[in-house]
Amino acid sequence: MYSALMQPLVQALVDGDQATAVAQTHQLQAAGLAREAIINAGIEVAMTQLDARCTVEQFNLLEIMLAGRAVMSVMKVLYPSDAAMLPSQGTIILASLEGDVHDLGKNILKMILTAKGYRVVDCGKDCPVERLIATARQEAPLAVGISGLITTVIPQVRQVRTKMHALGLTQIKVMAGGAALKQATAASLQVDFIGETAFDCLHYVETLSGGAL
C-alpha cells in the first residue's frame, strides 16, 4: 500500500545513495509513516531487489557495501538508540578467526543481517576460537558465522563445531564464507553451511529462524 511513496527510498537504498536514503526517510517520517512501515515496505523491498541482483556473477562488494551503508544510516534515523530496535529475529555471532585480519566480508554480512532484523554480535577479526565459543555460550545465538580469506585458518574453523558440541551447544549452527573457506566443502570444514555470498548466509539463517521478516 506504500509502494509509490516508498519508491524513492527503495531506489536510493538499491543505488547505495546514503544521503538521499536518509533524506527520504526523514520525509516519510514527517509524512507520518511509522518506522515499521518504512522497514517493511522500504528496507525490506530494497533488500529483496539487491538479493535478486546478487547472482554469483553480478555480486560485487562495492555495490553491497554502499547499499549496506545506506541501510544502516536509515536504521540509525529510525532507531537513534540501539536499545529501541525492533525485537530481534535472533542473534548471530560473526568473526574472522585468529591470524585472519580481513573483515570486509564479515562486515557486509553484519550489515545485511542487521538490516533484516537480526542482532549481530561481532567478535571482530583475529579472534581466537576460545573467545568465539565463550561468546556463543553467553549469547545463545542461532548461528556463528566465520569469514576466512586465508587457508591457514581452516584448522581453527574445523574446531568450532566440535568444541561447541563438547560444551553442549549443539543447537548452534556454524556457517562459513570468504575466499578461502568457499573452496572447501561444509563436511571437510566441519561446519553446517558454506555461503557463496552474504545473501546465501542470510537465506541460511532465515531457515533457522523460521523465515524472512
Binding site: 554502499l66 591457514t152 573452496q183 572447501a184
Partner: protein, 334 residues
C-alpha cells in the same frame, strides 16, 4: 628447451617440448626449507635461497621474488605487523585519515621498506638461473595498492564519496607501481607479475574496472614492456571472468585464471592470450596427489588443441600445502 624457451613458445602458441608448469609457490618455499615466514619476507637472500631450494625440489619453470602484498604500502609509510609463520598485515594504514595526498611519499625502491631486499632477491635469482628459468618479480596492481594504503573498505567508500581524490590516489599508486616494477626489471626480473586481487569483479563492478583500472594497467604494462620485461602477466584472483575480455587492451600476455573461472570461458574471452591456471589452491592442502594429477591431466587435455597454456594453480599455493601434491602437478606435464 629450457623453461624460458618453453614459456616463450606457450606465449606465442608455438610448439614446445612440453606444457610449461608454474606452481605458484611463494611463502611455501620458506616452509619447505624450514625457514620462518617472517624471515623469508624480510630478507632477500633468504627468499632467494628458499626459492632456489623449491625450484630444485619441484623442478618447475619459474621462480618468484615475491614477498607479500604489503611491500609497497610499507615503503610508502604504512606500519605492518609481522608474525612468525603468516604473511604480514597492515596495522596502520598510511592514508587512513584521508590526509593531504601531497604528503604521501613516493618510495625509492633502493632505499625504502623491504623494496631493496626484494631487489636483492631478484638479483640473486637471476644470477643463479640466468635465462634458463623465468624470474618473476611482483608488484601489486593499482586497486590493490590503494586498498593497502587505506583499507579496502575505505578505498571503496572514497571512490564513491570523493571520486577526484580517489583518482589522485589511484594515480599515486600507479607511480609507485611503475617505479618499483622498473627497479625490478633493472635488477634482473624477466617480468614483474601484476597482482591485483582487489580489481576482481567480485569486489568492484566491471564498469569501475574498465573506466578506472584498465587505463592505469595499460600505462603500467606499456612502461614495463618498454623497460625490457619479456611480457606482462596479470593476476586477478577470484572470479575474473567478466573482465578477461579487457586484458588484451591492457597489453597482458599471460592471464592468470583462478579455480572458479571456467576454462572454456577463459579461452573464449582470450583466444590469443596465454592463460595460466587453474587448479584449486586448497586442493594442494587437502586433496591427494592422485586427485591433483587427474585435475591437471583434465586441464592439459582441455588446452591440448589450443596451446597458449601454462599449467598452474589458480592462485597462490597455500603455505601448508602437501609437497607431494605440488610434485603431482609438476609431473602431470612430463
Amino acid at each position: 628447451m629450457n623453461s624460458l624457451e618453453r614459456i616463450h613458445a606457450a606465449l606465442h602458441f608455438q610448439p614446445h617440448d612440453r606444457v610449461p608448469v608454474i606452481a605458484q609457490v611463494f611463502g611455501h618455499a620458506a616452509i619447505l626449507a624450514g625457514v620462518d615466514l617472517k624471515t623469508y619476507v624480510q630478507d632477500g637472500a633468504v627468499l632467494a635461497a628458499c626459492q632456489r631450494g623449491a625450484l630444485a625440489y619441484y623442478d618447475y619453470d619459474a621462480v618468484f621474488a615475491l614477498m607479500d602484498t604489503s611491500v609497497e604500502t610499507e615503503a610508502v609509510g604504512s606500519v605492518l605487523a609481522y608474525r612468525t609463520n603468516a604473511y604480514p598485515t597492515v596495522q596502520t594504514y598510511v592514508f587512513a585519515k584521508r590526509d593531504d595526498l601531497a604528503q604521501l611519499h613516493l618510495p625509492d625502491p633502493q632505499r625504502d621498506g623491504r623494496m631493496p631486499e626484494l631487489l636483492k632477491a631478484i638479483q640473486i635469482l637471476r644470477q643463479a638461473v640466468g635465462d634458463e628459468v623465468l624470474v618473476v618479480g611482483c608488484v601489486v596492481g593499482p586497486m590493490t595498492l590503494v586498498s593497502q594504503l587505506m583499507s579496502l573498505q575505505e578505498a571503496l567508500y572514497l571512490a564513491i564519496d570523493a571520486p577526484e581524490q580517489f583518482i589522485q590516489l589511484l594515480d599515486f599508486a600507479t607511480r609507485v607501481i611503475i617505479r618499483f616494477g622498473l627497479a625490478q626489471i633493472e635488477a634482473g626480473a624477466h617480468l614483474p607479475i601484476i597482482f591485483d586481487p582487489a580489481s576482481c569483479p567480485e569486489v568492484i563492478p566491471v564498469g569501475f574496472f574498465r573506466e578506472l583500472i584498465l587505463p592505469r594497467l595499460k600505462t603500467i604494462v606499456s612502461t614495463f614492456t618498454q623497460a625490457g620485461a619479456i611480457c606482462n602477466w596479470l593476476h586477478v584472483a577470484g572470479n575474473a571472468t567478466t573482465i578477461l575480455p579487457f586484458y588484451p587492451e591492457a597489453g597482458v600476455a599471460i592471464a592468470n585464471f583462478d579455480f572458479c573461472v571456467d576454462p572454456a570461458r577463459a579461452m573464449q574471452a582470450l583466444p590469443q592470450t596465454c592463460l595460466d591456471g587453474n587448479l584449486k589452491p586448497l586442493a594442494f592442502v587437502d586433496a591427494s596427489p592422485a586427485f591433483i594429477a587427474d585435475e591437471a591431466t583434465h586441464l592439459l587435455q582441455h588446452f591440448a588443441q589450443r596451446g597458449g597454456f601454462i599449467l598452474s594453480s589458480g592462485c597462490e599455493i597455500p603455505l601448508e600445502a602437501r609437497p607431494e601434491n605440488i610434485t603431482a602437478l609438476v609431473q602431470a606435464v612430463r
